[in-house]
């Protein structure tokens, strides 16, 4: 139960970071924190009490056992990979911005691009 609350709180921490920070790197870190919180939340949606991990092995050898929901796991795998893609792109942009303006602070960059 706790972990689901904490996942939502972690998302809120990420949003707080996005709202309050004006440093490019910090904003990307905040986005990542938001995404981690979201991923934990999605996994917690699929958790079944006393369920086993969704892999058939020689121990858990029948589909009549109680498994946790595998679909959220698949969704989170996708979400993690998408997150990496966006983060890499954001960091590339950050690098270009630093080259152009010499700083990571959005407010010090001047108005016009």
């Amino acid at each position: 139960m706790m972990i689901q609350y904490i996942a939502i709180l972690l998302m809120l921490v990420g949003i707080y970071g996005l709202l309050s920070q004006r440093n490019v790197i910090k904003m990307i870190v905040s986005l990542n924190i938001f995404e981690i919180g979201l991923n934990v939340f999605i996994i917690s949606i699929g958790y079944v009490k006393d369920g086993v991990a969704p892999i058939l092995t020689s121990v858990n050898n029948s589909s009549s056992l109680m498994f946790v929901d595998p679909l959220p796991h698949a969704l989170v795998l996708t979400a993690i990979v998408i997150g990496v893609g966006v983060t890499a792109l954001a960091l590339a942009l950050a690098r270009k911005m630093h080259k152009k303006y010499g700083t990571y602070e959005l407010d010090e960059m001047g108005g016009e691009a």
Binding site: L38, I45, T78, L89, A90, L93, K100, A113
Partner: protein, 475 residues
């Protein structure tokens, strides 16, 4: 019809293009042409809706693509706009052909997909392609703002659909619309808010459209039309489907969304009215039109909404490309700097004028049909104040478009144009293609304005639910 091809072919072309970079533009042209021909061909032979299951896993378990009249019209509109854009701005593409291919696949996917999570994936692909395209003009700061906002929005969208998965145990939109039926659930309010916030960023609704101005103010014809026309088409068509076919909005949510959309419409038109630069006027006008389309969708007027959307995106292709081209060649897109430019270059001046008049909604133009349909629909629905707002806003729109046209056609004092820098580069021959295309589009717009629209109606007659529910197995 195999709708998966509309997505698979551009993707395959993109993967090949990254290996053989030399032929990337050839592959782009081929893929765009294929998509265009294939959609138009399928629209002609269209008889009844199909649900295409990917991987032969029946819905709601596998991912399915939905091809009904509505998505077919959306896909045609999208591919026409995309083809026009690529054709008109072919020189600007440069190294970005792969990005365009991927965005073409993603936008087709957004319209066709029948799965909420699959929609998220396509939205992310499209969004990443858009971030890359908008970084083309080196305005990294604006692109970064767009990226942060877009990523946060899609995260919230994902949060929303996960809550829906928890509530209903499915992600398939048809299955979902069956489970929901006509009931208004209180528990749905939160996920719906998140989903609409997520979509609003790309659909350019008001509190979330701050990124548009920075990104597009200096954009070239390619990026501008991509965002204003192609992305707007895909997102708004999907928005319409979510609002009208799947989710039942509670009254509070409906009123809230309507207020947001109407505010978007009025404030953006006011902003457009106060601007002097062509591209800024056009981008604010696009935001306003997005608001109008959402208002129509919220009132269940699907056909008028699609007509308004079509009018907007096709006209904007011409308007924005011409504006960006003039700005590129003269160094300014201020309407007072460009005084009398059309008098010298009549060919695309006429195309621009027709598109602008269609935007305003003058009689005998396509825009008139669209707006008339919208107003009649709203009045029939018992709405009084929405038509009044739309009419008032149209007057504002008419005033600023007329101001543009009078300025651009009247030379004013002699030699005004010569003051512009780089004016020597401004040669007619560069504009032959653009001029011809804008003329043809102009003619089509006029033709669509005069001809009756009964033929289109057949694509919208079919009720989404009644047909599609037959094709779903027991779930």
């Amino acid at each position: 019809m195999n709708p998966a091809l509309l997505i698979a072919v551009p993707l395959l072309a993109a993967f090949i293009a990254v290996m053989v970079m030399k032929i990337d533009k050839v592959l782009l042209s081929l893929a765009v042409l294929f998509n265009l021909v294939y959609t138009v061909y399928n629209a002609i032979i269209y008889t009844n809706p199909i649900i295409y299951t990917i991987g032969n896993f029946k819905p709601p378990f596998g991912i399915s693509l939905v091809v009904d009249g509505y998505s077919l019209v959306g896909v045609i509109l999208l591919n026409v706009v995309f083809a026009l854009m690529v054709f008109l701005s072919f020189k600007l593409i440069g190294k970005y052909a792969v990005v365009l291919l991927v965005s073409l696949a993603a936008l087709n996917g957004i319209i066709l997909t029948g799965d909420l999570f699959n929609l998220f994936v396509f939205m992310e692909i499209g969004a990443i392609a858009a971030y890359i395209m908008t970084s083309m003009d080196k305005g990294y700061k604006h692109t970064f703002n767009y990226l942060v906002l877009g990523t946060l929005a899609s995260g919230l969208y994902l949060f929303g659909i996960v809550i829906i998965y928890n509530l209903f145990g499915t992600l398939n939109i048809i299955d979902l619309s069956e489970s929901i039926g006509n009931t208004v659930y209180a528990a749905m309010a939160l996920p719906l808010i998140f989903i609409f916030v997520g979509l609003s960023v790309e659909a350019k609704l008001l509190p979330f459209s701050g990124w548009v101005k920075g990104v597009l103010k200096k954009a070239n014809g390619l990026v501008g039309t991509l965002i204003i026309s192609a992305y707007a088409t895909a997102m708004l068509v999907m928005f319409g489907r979510l609002i009208n076919s799947i989710f039942i909005l509670s009254d509070g949510l409906k009123i809230g969304l309507t207020i947001i959309a109407v505010l978007t419409l009025t404030l953006a038109e006011a902003a457009a009215f106060s601007k002097k630069n062509l591209r800024e006027i056009l981008l604010f006008s696009s935001i306003a039109q997005s608001g109008l389309v959402v208002v129509l969708f919220l009132n269940g007027l699907i056909l008028p909404a699609v007509l308004v959307l079509a009018n907007n995106v096709i006209s904007k292709v011409v308007l924005f490309t011409v504006s960006a081209k003039m700005a590129e060649n003269t160094g300014s897109d201020n309407i007072y700097d460009l005084k009398g430019i059309f008098a010298s270059y009549r060919c695309f001046g006429i195309g621009f004028t027709v598109a602008a008049m269609s935007m305003v909604g003058l009689p005998f133009f396509f825009g008139f049909v669209a707006k008339a349909n919208a107003l009649i629909g709203l009045l029939q629905g018992g709405n009084i104040w929405l038509p009044i707002v739309i009419l008032l806003v149209s007057v504002v729109e008419g005033v600023y478009f007329m101001r543009i046209l009078t300025n651009l056609w009247n030379p004013g004092e002699e030699g005004e144009l010569a003051k512009l820098k780089d004016v020597n580069d401004f040669k007619m021959k560069k504009f032959v293609k653009l001029g011809i295309v804008s003329l043809i589009i102009g003619l089509i717009i006029i033709a669509a304005g005069i001809l009756p629209l009964q033929n289109i109606q057949k694509y919208f007659d079919a009720d989404f639910l009644s047909i599609l529910s037959n094709s779903i197995g027991g779930a």
